[in-house]
């Protein structure tokens, strides 16, 4: 395996004051290798976005957020790094794109100006060179006639073009890690596909690692090398896309996979769904496994803390008490059933 770029160790994020604090992310550990695309999947509110924002340090100054654990990036713990040093990393070593390209660009500034702002902070290019570089970046992400569009305002761009511009902005500092928080959710399917292809191409061209947050398993299948499934602020399963999709070890993952229509599976009168709803974290989490109240396979042991286990391969981990044989059955059942 190539060198580890980012290593998150026991990340815990709490929001609120003392007793009433809700644990949004609990004891989360994962790593991203250089050039790797890691997808984080899970339902709304499972802590995906909070995790991503903690990595790039966007919620470190937000009131009420308490973050503990370690986020090692390039040999430094980002959680203990002071704000000026963190600012030198943001936009240069790692950058982030957001869900809604309609609102993630400043409506009052020209597209070019917003990209040049990043170049001005992190580089020593002159004004003219910055402009040239911006045109280059915009063409790279597939903005047609970039030189003519550089002085446009965001409202003159379509949704897909804005997301491309956001990606160009994120690329300005030549980052080693790009965090993409549901970057295709707000786009139509064709544009979505184009953006995914673009991200993959950029990863191949620049060897940039990507943390891709989504709730769309179709997107995961398309783009990810590895996938981490989150539930109620915890990782419940992680592994390569192949492993996780073909042999899900956690009932939640299996449930998610069974809930999407697929052409290679026999058609059922209705789509499978997971009964119940995820716990509301501000009201405290359930004892033991957070998924247990919704799980069809739950038994006594599930009401204590479930383990993080490996089934055979070391890089396929899951957090479930079921025996390996039962888990295999889970995967098979999904294919027959669904």
């Amino acid at each position: 395996m190539t060198k580890v770029l980012l290593e998150v160790d026991s990340l815990t994020v709490r929001l609120g004051h003392a007793d009433s604090a809700a644990t949004l992310v609990e004891e989360l550990s994962f790593s991203v290798a250089a050039g790797e695309i890691l997808c984080i999947v899970g339902e709304s509110g499972c802590g995906k976005t909070v995790t991503a924002r903690s990595v790039i340090g966007l919620n470190r100054n937000e009131p009420g957020f308490h973050t503990s654990g370690k986020i090692m990036f390039d040999g430094r713990n980002l959680l203990t790094l002071d704000e000026p040093s963190m600012r030198r990393i943001r936009g240069a070593r790692m950058s982030m794109i957001f869900q809604d390209p309609m609102s993630s660009l400043n409506p009052l500034h020209r597209i070019g100006t917003q990209i040049e702002e990043s170049l001005a902070i992190h580089g020593d290019l002159g004004r003219r060179e910055r402009r040239e570089r911006t045109v280059e970046l915009l063409s790279q992400v597939g903005i047609p006639d970039a030189r003519a569009r550089i002085d446009d305002y965001p409202h003159q761009f379509s949704g897909g073009m804005r997301q491309r511009a956001m990606i160009a902005l994120a690329l300005a500092g030549n980052p080693d890690l790009l965090i993409a928080d549901e970057p295709t959710t707000a786009l139509d399917v064709t544009t979505q596909k184009q953006i995914l292809t673009l991200l993959e191409r950029l990863r191949n061209d620049y060897g940039m690692a990507v943390i891709f947050i989504t709730h769309d398993l179709g997107v995961v299948a398309e783009i990810a090398d590895r996938v981490m499934v989150m539930y109620a602020g915890k990782c419940v399963e992680s592994g390569t896309v192949r492993e996780v999709f073909h042999a899900p070890q956690h009932p939640y993952t299996a449930g998610l996979l069974a809930s999407i229509p697929a052409l290679n599976r026999p058609k059922l009168p209705r789509l499978q769904s997971i009964r119940g709803a995820p716990p509301v974290l501000s009201e405290g989490r359930p004892e033991g496994c957070a998924f247990q109240p919704r799980c069809a396979h739950a038994f006594d042991a599930c009401s204590t803390e479930p383990p993080m286990t490996s089934t055979g391969e070391l890089d396929h981990l899951d957090r479930c008490w079921l025996l390996p044989a039962q888990k295999r059955h889970l995967a098979n059942a999904m294919e027959v059933n669904a």
């Binding site: 982030m96 957001f98 993630s104 009052l108």
Partner: protein, 314 residues
Amino acid sequence: MISFLLARLVGAVVTLFFVSALAFFATAFAPGNPAAVLLGNMATPERVEAVTRQMGLDQPTGIRYMIWLRETLSGNLGTSNLSFKPVNDLLAAALPATLELALASLLVAVVIALPLGLLVAQHRDSWWSRPTSALVTLGISVPGFWVGLILIVTFSVWLKLLPSAGFVPLSRSVAGNVRSMILPVTTLAIYLIPSLVRFVRVAAIDVLRESYVDTARAKGVGPWAILLRHVAPNTLITTITYIGLQLGVLISGAIVVEVIFSIPGIGRLGMNAVLNRDYPVIQGVVLVAATGYVAVNLLIDIAYALIDPRVRTG
């Protein structure tokens, strides 16, 4: 852009037309006879009737309005019932002081309230932010005339630093003018600042939650640059609209301040005209105030287009 401004211009003219009608009919239908006021309570009924006829007040209201409209459109606002001076001259004499007072106060208020509101919003969770906001809220509940009186007692009566009354025109002495305007401008600005700070604070907090502020942070922009380059301009869009709406407050505040500090401005002119049923002057003052209001809002629309590209090119 051009069509946007043309539409606003037409709107402004229509507004002024309706305001002028309102100004005329509100005074025309008001009870009481100006002729009687003019002659005092010793006048005989015959004398009052003669003067009424002489002033044209015995004509039907519709006809009086047509005459009034024709004269107004040709730039003649009539003569004062009280001093028999042309209303035009009275307004022209009073306007500079009011303009100076209003513009200076607005400028001072904006220069103080805008940064303060932005700072309070950015540091909304620090220890000093809440007390500051509370103090500002307290400011809203203090009436303007009271602030003026406190300032007079402190700086004129007690410290003897500044004049308590009297207006020195700019044309006579710049230094004297500034000295005479410090207290009135301060009073009116204090009257305007609290609600403006509150508005800016709320608007800026909304902007700080916008996704593009996250984008700016994620690209490594420092907190000050975020505040100045990203938050402030976006806050300004809504704030400018609010300032336009606050002009009414500014005008009514100016009347109070002019009376307290004896500034011979539009407000005091209007006030005296109302007390004496000097209808032509009242109508003139209302027209001037309305024109000012409409003109400033037109300017605000232009400023809006300058700040926001969506208005300019959309």
